[in-house]
């Protein structure tokens, strides 16, 4: 399951990878089986931990790895909704299409994942200049995860935001209240199945990639021809 990108292609250079790899090794030493997958790409580190070890992982990163700066905590909804369908306005189309995947088949990103919702947390070492993105799966229907407010007080607002936007229950949070939205607001706006009303009542005038380029059979399916900007 763990994947190691030995040769990050293209722009990024390799020299940063040595300390990053050391970071992963130390975290594995502390967490053992709790560390499910990791990836070191482009000078950056991603680690996915078992949800029950989430608090330990963040605590280890802070206390033992020197990642004392709390950058952000947020979540991802991996449900595949065809957003271009929402963009290409069609009055007959269903406003929210059924997901293209389901439990057990979520297409997830770096460091993998098994559930629809993932929480990610970014920590940074202001002296060693190393960053780490921790991820944890937190379920499909009623996502929940341990709160890390006890470790980083700054996580308070970030968890409140993730709670109202994705509906993720952070167990042990002192008061999950709305941060941005009014108290009476229902639903979780950043979930993929939450409709964006502005797109569903009115066609999006900014849609530009509709017509195919000359010599291109399938509009929107292939990359366009490479053009050089003459005015450069």
């Amino acid at each position: 399951m763990s994947s190691e990108a030995e040769a990050p292609g293209g722009v990024e250079a390799a020299p940063v990878d040595q300390p990053s790899q050391a970071l992963v090794d130390r975290l594995r030493g502390a967490l053992g089986d709790g560390m499910l997958a990791h990836e070191v790409t482009g000078g950056d580190v991603w680690v996915r931990v078992a949800p029950e070890r989430w608090y330990d992982a963040v605590g280890t990163a802070k206390a033992q790895l020197g990642l004392t700066y709390f950058c952000f905590l947020s979540a991802i909804d991996w449900m595949q909704v065809d957003l271009t369908a929402t963009k290409l306005w069609d009055p007959d189309a269903e406003p929210s299409e059924p997901p293209g995947d389901g439990p057990g088949h979520w297409r997830t990103g770096i460091a993998g994942g098994d559930t629809r919702f993932q929480v990610m947390c970014r920590l940074y070492d202001v002296e060693g200049h190393l960053g780490l993105t921790l991820k944890a799966d937190c379920g499909d229907e009623n996502p929940r995860l341990a709160s890390v407010v006890g470790l980083f007080r700054g996580a308070d607002w970030h968890e409140r935001e993730a709670w109202e936007m994705y509906g993720i229950e952070f167990e042990g949070h002192p008061g999950l209240r709305h941060l941005y939205l009014p108290t009476e607001f229902e639903g979780h706006p950043l979930r993929k199945d939450f409709p964006l009303l502005a797109r569903e009542v009115k066609p999006w005038p900014g849609l530009v990639n509709v017509e195919g380029l000359p010599g291109e059979p399938d509009a929107g399916a292939e990359d366009g021809a490479v053009s050089e900007d003459a005015d450069a």
């Binding site: 595949q80 990103g109 770096i110 990359d223 490479v226």
Partner: protein
């Protein structure tokens, strides 16, 4: 009333604050609403303060009055269309918001802007910083009762905004960055005029130092007020000049290589050991001077060449995840962009804004302070509402 009762009352008041009920508990002390339209709150941030006499027992910022849902909107737009949105996050230094997003998209696509584009990006980035921070340098005085500096700040900021407008066509929302480079090159005669504007702003910094930083009344209002200890600041994710004023020697312009021209410049990172409101003012003042010096070096050393890399006519970003952070005028700004390889926009675009974390420390910082200090502390933290609420 015991401390726990106070805390309980404050908690209840916080609950009801959302429900827009004016709530007064029969007890000593009072609940004071600062904002959403208070002149000292930079916009529509509301701060609910529970007072015992003049002392703050408890304070809670209530945000969301300006929440525009950019993270959702990013998901239904093209990559090229997202820059228009992110321009409006920190509206005083708009160009600085575009850069990390464009860099993130470029990194996912594996392309790099040509050197000239990188230099002009850095140039406009620093000019956005000057425009942003110069306003703070005057406004901090205005909030403490010295009204004159803010007029100087508004006057002299125009010099920078005029130069930004001459390049981009927009004073506030340039929307000038493109994936792979920039929209246009610099206009003729711009470099000379910029040098004049920078000389003017150097004078402005000196003026501010004389009027405010060296002013005894200003110092007495600021020194020792709102001290952020280093560890607490890091725990809350405080970044930028706010954390450098607490003695953390960390600046992403120096410490991360994101494809801007900072490594070619001669400049230094300023820190201050005190962590109080005065330190935050002082660090920003020095940073503005450094930024002016950077702009002067950048226009002198501008490389020639194209300003845009070869990009497909239709931007299509391959699947992947990337985190790009830059040192924006207000602190660390970053975009966590997830692409699923579809022709549309980002699958997920988490926008990490500096003011959000900088303001989340406010409840901790205001506890036990006095009402006049509340204004000093809020002013010295320097946040932009669009940057909190995005």
């Amino acid at each position: 009333m015991s401390i726990t009762e106070h805390a309980k009352a404050a908690y209840v008041a916080g609950q009801s604050a959302d429900a827009r009920i004016n709530f007064e508990i029969e007890a000593e002390g009072m609940t004071l609403n600062m904002g959403p339209q208070h002149p000292a709150t930079h916009g529509t941030l509301r701060i609910l303060v529970r007072l015992d006499g003049e002392q703050v027992i408890w304070a809670e910022p209530i945000c969301g009055y300006m929440h525009r849902g950019y993270e959702k909107l990013c998901e239904v737009r093209d990559y090229a269309q997202v820059t228009t949105l992110v321009n409006r996050i920190d509206w005083l230094g708009s160009f600085a918001n575009e850069v990390p997003f464009v860099l993130a998209a470029e990194r996912l696509m594996g392309i790099e802007a040509p050197p000239r584009a990188q230099w002009i990006r850095t140039l406009l980035f620093e000019m956005a910083r000057i425009a942003n921070v110069s306003l703070f340098l005057g406004e901090m005085g205005a909030q403490l009762g010295a009204l004159t500096p803010v007029f100087y700040a508004f006057r002299d900021r125009e010099y920078v905004l005029n130069m930004i407008e001459a390049v981009t066509g927009g004073r506030f929302h340039p929307n000038f960055d493109r994936i792979g480079g920039l929209k246009d090159d610099l206009p003729k005669g711009w470099i000379e005029e910029t040098k004049g504007a920078m000389a003017r702003l150097r004078e402005f910094c000196d003026e501010m130092e004389t009027l405010l930083a060296d002013n005894r009344i200003f110092q007495e209002r600021c020194r020792g007020v709102g001290v952020i200890p280093r560890e607490v600041g890091l725990e809350y994710g405080v970044s930028g000049a706010n954390i450098r004023a607490s003695g953390v020697d960390w600046d992403l312009r120096r410490d991360s290589d994101v494809g801007l021209a900072y490594k070619h410049l001669d400049w230094r990172v300023w820190t201050h050991p005190d962590g109080d409101s005065f330190a935050r003012y002082w660090v920003r003042l020095q940073e503005t001077r450094e930024a002016i010096g950077m702009v002067e070096q950048l226009v002198d050393g501008l490389p020639s060449g194209p300003i845009r890399a070869k990009t497909p006519a239709r931007i299509r970003v391959p699947a992947g995840e990337v985190w790009v952070q830059t040192e924006n005028p207000l602190g660390e700004m970053g975009y966590y962009v997830v692409s699923d390889g579809s022709p549309g926009g980002p699958f997920r675009c988490k926008i990490r804004t500096p003011s959000f974390s900088n303001v989340s420390i406010v409840p901790w910082l205001l506890q036990g302070t006095y009402v006049p200090d509340v204004i000093t502390i809020l002013a010295s933290l320097y946040f932009i509402l669009g940057d909190i609420d995005r």
